[in-house]
Amino acid sequence: MVNWLYVALQAILNGLLTGALYALIGMGMALIFGVMRIVNFAHGAFLMLGMYATYVLFQATGGSPYYQFPVAGILLFVVGYATYMVLLRPIRGQVDFMVILLTMGLALILTDGAQLIFGADYHQINIPLLSRNIHLGSQISLNAPWLVSFAIALVLACALYWVVTHTMFGRAARAIAQNPYAAPLMGINVNRVQAISFGIGSAAAGIAGALLLPVFYLFPEVGNQFKLKSFVMVVLGGMGSIQGAAIAGLVLGVVESLTSLYWGNEWALAVDFVLFILVLSLKPSGIFGSQRA
């Protein structure tokens, strides 16, 4: 009888481990959405770029992605910053959906570009850590790489939160999020702060890609599922709240895992969206608060 408890616990723990990675991706998206109100359809493509970059690095140096992920982060920061400056800033005044359309076009370019360069074939890497499992008692086992990525994601999430709440940059970003018209009047260089925010948000996606590489596999369209999930997280978390998105990521991971356990894996994605719709209709300001921090 107690078996079902262990089984459920295992599922919840697995869900939290997966959810941490989701959280990292979602926080990036929340930062971008919060500061700029941009729904970035290229977010998944940025994750994919981070993954490919880490893969290339691994092939060249053999070093574990768990040490080399900052490279993906830096690369994607630059890509994000440049994307904002070159492509998004010129059309800032335009309607929402032209901006969305641009990010869609960008996603196509990046995805097809990756296919042309790396081929459509799947890639994966194999590191020794992959076969290590940590056992808690006799019933629960956790895969080591997921624990490592959980820890890294946790640290980065806290760091991001600290940056947003305790630095001048963070304050400027929050100011712009609150009122983009008043912020420049306060002496904030709106363009630069927004570009940096976009850069950080994209870097988060890139790092998540790097952390995902050992436990998953790589192909040009890998970012698609994560892009949709990051939309869900931003909404669940509420109004571009970073901490909300992070918690939403964990929630999503656990919900998916429990759905797989009790209903069937094929419904996990559908449940994500149903949850999304429920939250939007019942508490549109998100599960975690209505005001930004």
Partner: protein, 333 residues
Amino acid sequence: MRKWQALIAAVFLSTALFVPFLVSTDYTLQILFRVFLFAALGLAWNLVGGYAGQLSLGHAAYFGVGAYGLALFSKLGISPWASVFLGVVLAMISAAMIGIVSFRLRGPYFALCTIAFAEVLRLVAKNLPSVTGGDVGMQVPLLFTHSTIRFFYWAGVLLTAFAFALSAWIERSRFGYYLMAIREDQDTALSVGVNATRCKLWALVISAAITGLGGALYASMFLFIVPDQVPAMDISTEIAIVAMLGGAGSLLGPLLGSVVLESASEIFKNVFKEANLLIYGVLIVVVVLFMPEGIVGAITRKLSLFKKAPTAPFAAPLPVSAEEESERMVLNK
């Protein structure tokens, strides 16, 4: 809309009807069918996305309901055309249900909500093989006694003509005016007594009807449908792109958008082979950067010094106070 515009449109569409007598290859007719289908779908989307300014990225839901409606009802033994009718009714009902939930939200939240509904529909179709055949697919009956592409092409032209006429009529009507008022500033529109929710719902339901009809036609042409083909995000984004790039909020926009994008897509595929999607992406980025009001908007702007307000695509939303903004960013009160 001025009379000569209507005349040009009528002439164009009637000449389009003669095309099958000039062009004999199925291949070209299929592409032209696609052009007209997406022109009709773009015009339908335009009612919600262009005139009412609500960005729907889940229109494939209605497309899919129309297609699966045809397949499912005829599996039950109902005649094909009756099944089409029922499919369209079902699409309208789904639009009402989706709209009631989604229209409480604004801007990007609305868009994301529409994506969510469409995805749920797709996953339901995919994961219930006993009902919908799942990913293995479902047979669709032939709507026309002759299985030549011609009939589908004509149906596509007629659908486009219908959508065009409907849009033109709405554009001139009070209903259309209300929609555009909602687009420009919903709160002000509400304050002068426009029932925003009801207007938006009607726009969506009408839009869904045309989209569902298009879906049934499309399905019948292929005689077979699978979930990733019909209620799929690809279709939603294609419809939205056609309308937005062509020029949302204008009549010729979706038409032009469809012609340009569908033919570009096919040409790229033949010329660039594996790189065709990349070039397509570049096209989208270039058009957005240099023609942010869509192709039609850019042309109108270049050619006329005096912009006419009702057909101008968009104005930036007026600033409101910070506290209200955060709440009203999400909700429609």
